[in-house]
């Protein structure tokens, strides 16, 4: 089958150039390719165009570093046989097919579990609501159900967890999400104000503001096809890696807190504060909001700021390394983290896990390596950190080492800055919110945020306005990994399994 082949550093694709094939051919080809672990689907979504529903698929080839694009279409009123579900063969596709089915009423044949994904306000079937969602149940005198949520005890974000337990042991966990649905994708199409759209992209998931803003800016810049200054790319990468450091450190602290290890918790909280305060000193916002904008930046680096960031990051890395050694050499912590919440490699592959959780299970998926963009394609050489155990400790170790690695990247990028612009401010231009977008095109921003691969797909109409945005946060894939991780574990170990993934509710619910 013919796919449109492009790269993560390439430009946008005209909608007419994306091959359109019949569903049978698409199904066979995709099913065949996905059997090989080198391929995984970055995004698969449907979009109404005229009286048809056109399905787009972004397939990633991790070995060659290519992005493959293809589509198929379905007439709205066509009385055809039901489409067979790809999920039945490759469970990794479940969130995409569930989303399509829920939004447009497309019925897939042989779908293993047609569970609604996020109950959007414009869903096809309004009869099913979150309140009457039937959870999976099991019968048995020795079993009991424990419901947690949807209101979180710590009032973070909402999500319902239904455990089926045999005593203390969890047999099954079902996670029901959608409580946080805000219609973010829809909002991108309601305004032509590029600044507003950029701000919107920062709010897709609050803990990944830089990641989502970068993905959005990437997608927009592919559509305008303007040259970007290499220094702008480097500054964005510094911001992204700062965010990664802050979140990985925060999660290390949260894991320590959940097992009642106070020293690790307070040390990590202090370091996390130091990291986000560094971001704040740079751009005025601790989470890096306002830092990443299309075509330019409002906060170009100055020699003083670069010096400050470099010094802080070095200090953070040094102190964090001590905490890391402390954790690694503490028997009571190892007893909690090792052999707990295991997701084996083949399961992680089957469900299509991404990001650092997948890397802890031996699945070396990392966009920075397989599909490098911006600085990662130029001045940085990145090597993924992969562990094979797939337990809480492995996920923690990946986090720990990524912090140190990110510190190294930041140091290298700022060193480059100091070499080139030691005397003056950075040459990054101011943001451009007016550049015209290529009409009738599809563009994607694909980056590796701290949680995993983050993908923004933007489709423009004939006038060059954003017709639709499709966003994928890595949490979309990894929530299922959490459900698998706690099977057979004690229910009291659920919190540390949960923290070891630290998935986003609003990133999933959009």
């Amino acid at each position: 089958m013919n796919w449109l082949t492009t790269e993560n550093t390439g430009s946008c694709a005209a909608l007419n150039d994306i091959p359109e094939v019949g569903y049978a051919e698409f199904y066979d080809d995709l099913a065949r390719r996905l059997a090989d672990a080198r391929y995984h689907v970055a995004h698969y979504f449907a979009l109404p165009s005229g009286d048809r529903l056109r399905f787009f698929c972004l397939l990633l080839d991790d070995r060659e570093g290519k992005v493959l694009l293809a589509s198929h279409a379905l007439a709205y009123y066509e009385e055809t046989a039901l489409h067979p579900a790809l999920t039945a063969l490759h469970p990794a596709l479940h969130p995409f097919e569930r989303d399509i089915a829920e939004r447009y009423g497309v019925r897939f044949d042989n779908m293993p579990w047609p569970k609604p994904l996020r109950f959007p306000f414009d869903r096809c079937d309004r009869a099913g609501t979150m309140d009457n969602y039937p959870f999976y149940t099991m019968k048995g005198g020795s079993l009991h159900e424990v419901n947690v949520g949807p209101i979180h005890a710590g009032v973070i974000e909402p999500g319902a967890f239904r455990f089926i337990c045999n005593g203390e042991q969890v047999l099954h966990l079902e996670i029901a999400l959608g409580y946080q649905h805000r219609g973010v994708e829809h909002l991108f199409g309601t305004t032509d104000n590029r600044l507003r759209q950029a701000c919107l992209s920062e709010t897709v998931a609050g803990d990944s503001a830089v990641a989502h803003a970068t993905a959005f800016a990437e997608a927009i810049e592919k559509l305008t096809q303007c040259e970007r200054h290499a220094q702008l790319e480097r500054e964005r990468t510094v911001a992204l890696e700062l965010e990664r450091m802050a979140m990985q450190i925060a999660d290390t602290g949260a894991l320590c807190m959940d097992v009642g290890y106070q020293l690790g918790q307070v040390a990590c909280e202090a370091l996390r504060t130091m990291t986000i305060n560094t971001t704040q000193a740079w751009c005025g916002n601790r989470f890096g909001k306002g830092l990443v904008r299309p075509h330019g930046t409002d906060h170009p680096l100055t020699p003083e700021k670069a010096r400050m960031i470099r010094d802080n990051v070095r200090e953070i890395a040094r102190r964090y390394d001590e905490v890391r050694r402390d954790i690694k050499s503490s028997p009571t912590l190892l007893a909690r983290f090792e052999q707990c919440g295991i997701v084996p490699r083949d399961e992680m592959l089957r469900i299509g896990g991404v990001g650092q959780a997948a890397r802890a299970s031996g699945v070396a998926r990392d966009i920075r390596v397989s599909h490098p963009w911006a600085s990662f394609a130029k001045c940085l050489h990145h090597e993924s950190i992969v562990k094979s155990q797939g337990d809480v400790m492995a996920r923690l170790t990946v986090r720990c080492r990524e912090v140190l690695q990110s510190a190294g990247h930041i140091d290298r990028l700022l060193e480059l800055y100091e070499q080139k612009y030691a005397s003056g401010p950075s040459p990054c231009p101011a943001p451009d919110y007016t550049a015209a977008l290529a009409p009738s095109s599809l563009s994607f921003g694909l980056i590796e945020g701290w949680r995993g691969e983050t993908c923004h797909v933007i489709i423009t109409d004939a006038e060059g306005r954003i017709a639709a945005a499709r966003i994928k946060d890595p949490s979309l894939h990894n929530w299922l990994a959490l459900a698998l991780a706690v099977r057979g574990e004690g229910i009291s170990d659920f919190p540390i399994c949960n923290k070891s993934f630290n998935l986003s509710y609003c990133g999933h619910d959009l």
Binding site: N147, A153, D258, V259, G260, L263, V266, S330
Partner: protein, 305 residues
């Protein structure tokens, strides 16, 4: 006079221990920490609040705080501070103390089940299991003391003229160690339980009190402090008996022992995996048995000589 002083000291110990724990933890975390008497202000706050009851609960739920606090008070009244005389004292009172406390625990478990909440049911089942497992240790530890002195009342056991401290120093140290472990378990502290956690799924004692507020919660908290204090005092008395069994040694020792030990352990150590608690408690029971038999053998030896 002596009994009044005993009661006052007991109350002071109970009120001081949470403060010392908090201060130790704060210092180790590099913080200034909350004020020393913050827990008492909090208690005062609870006492001024009204109560809200779930519609699924019955009278059982409402009477439990009184039973729990009452049991803790009665049990605490049997505990001597060093060489002082407790309010209640009779032969066999150490068995009575253990089961009065068990009554309080039983009431709390029933109340937790009464709410019909899945969390509280789980907490109740854990509390019942660990309560049953800690009992042999307590009985063996108290039994060791009874064996050494030939008395079964705490007041008589901790009589400086009766307890031959120096000769049994090893046994007394070991018994005090076992009693300290019981303090950790009974007061729901790391590594068995974590009173600070916000995660209901991992809680043991705290989860059973989730539906309580106001005066009821204050009563349960006060009961918990008294329980901690009475076990701490037992440990401190036992330790003090090895060198100087006086009230002015035992009372500060109880506060320092529990305050520092709990504070340090909670700062530097992670909590047990829940299933490992069983191993932990059985190890404590084994230590208690060791203390008992060492005491028995020593006594035989000394008796012959």
């Amino acid at each position: 006079m002596m009994t009044t002083l005993n009661t006052i000291l007991l109350l002071l110990v109970a009120l001081a221990i949470p403060g010392v724990i908090n201060r130790t933890r704060a210092l180790l975390a590099g913080r200034r920490g909350i004020r020393f008497l913050q827990h008492i202000y909090d208690l005062h706050l609870h006492l001024r609040k009204g109560a809200v009851y779930s519609t699924t609960t019955t009278a059982l739920f409402r009477t439990t705080p009184s039973v729990y606090l009452g049991a803790a008070i009665v049990a605490a009244m049997m505990i001597p501070v060093g060489d002082l005389r407790p309010l209640l004292s009779f032969e066999g009172d150490f068995v009575c103390m253990a089961y009065v406390l068990a009554l309080g625990r039983f009431a709390l478990i029933l109340a937790a089940m009464d709410t019909g909440s899945a969390f509280e049911g789980m907490g109740a089942s854990r509390e019942a299991l660990y309560g049953a497992l800690v009992e042999p240790s307590l009985m063996l530890a108290a039994g060791t003391l009874a064996l050494l002195t030939g008395h079964t009342s705490f007041a008589r056991i901790f009589d400086p003229d009766v307890l031959p401290g120096a000769r049994f120093a090893v046994v007394l140290l070991l018994t005090a160690y076992v009693l300290m472990k019981i303090v950790f378990t009974e007061s729901g502290r790391v590594p068995v339980d974590d009173p600070r956690t916000h995660l209901e799924l991992t809680m043991i004692h705290e989860v059973m009190c989730l539906d309580y507020c106001g005066v009821d919660l204050a009563m349960i908290q006060l009961g918990g402090w008294l329980k901690t204090a009475l076990f701490s005092l037992l440990a401190a008395d036992t330790l003090a008996a090895a060198f100087c069994l006086r009230w002015w040694v035992a009372a500060p020792l109880a506060v320092a022992l529990t305050g520092l030990a709990v504070g340090i352990v909670e700062s530097t150590q992670a909590r047990n995996k829940l299933v490992r608690n069983t191993t932990f408690l059985l190890t404590v029971a084994a230590l208690a048995a060791l203390a008992f038999f060492t005491g028995y053998l020593l006594q035989l030896n000394i008796g012959m000589a």
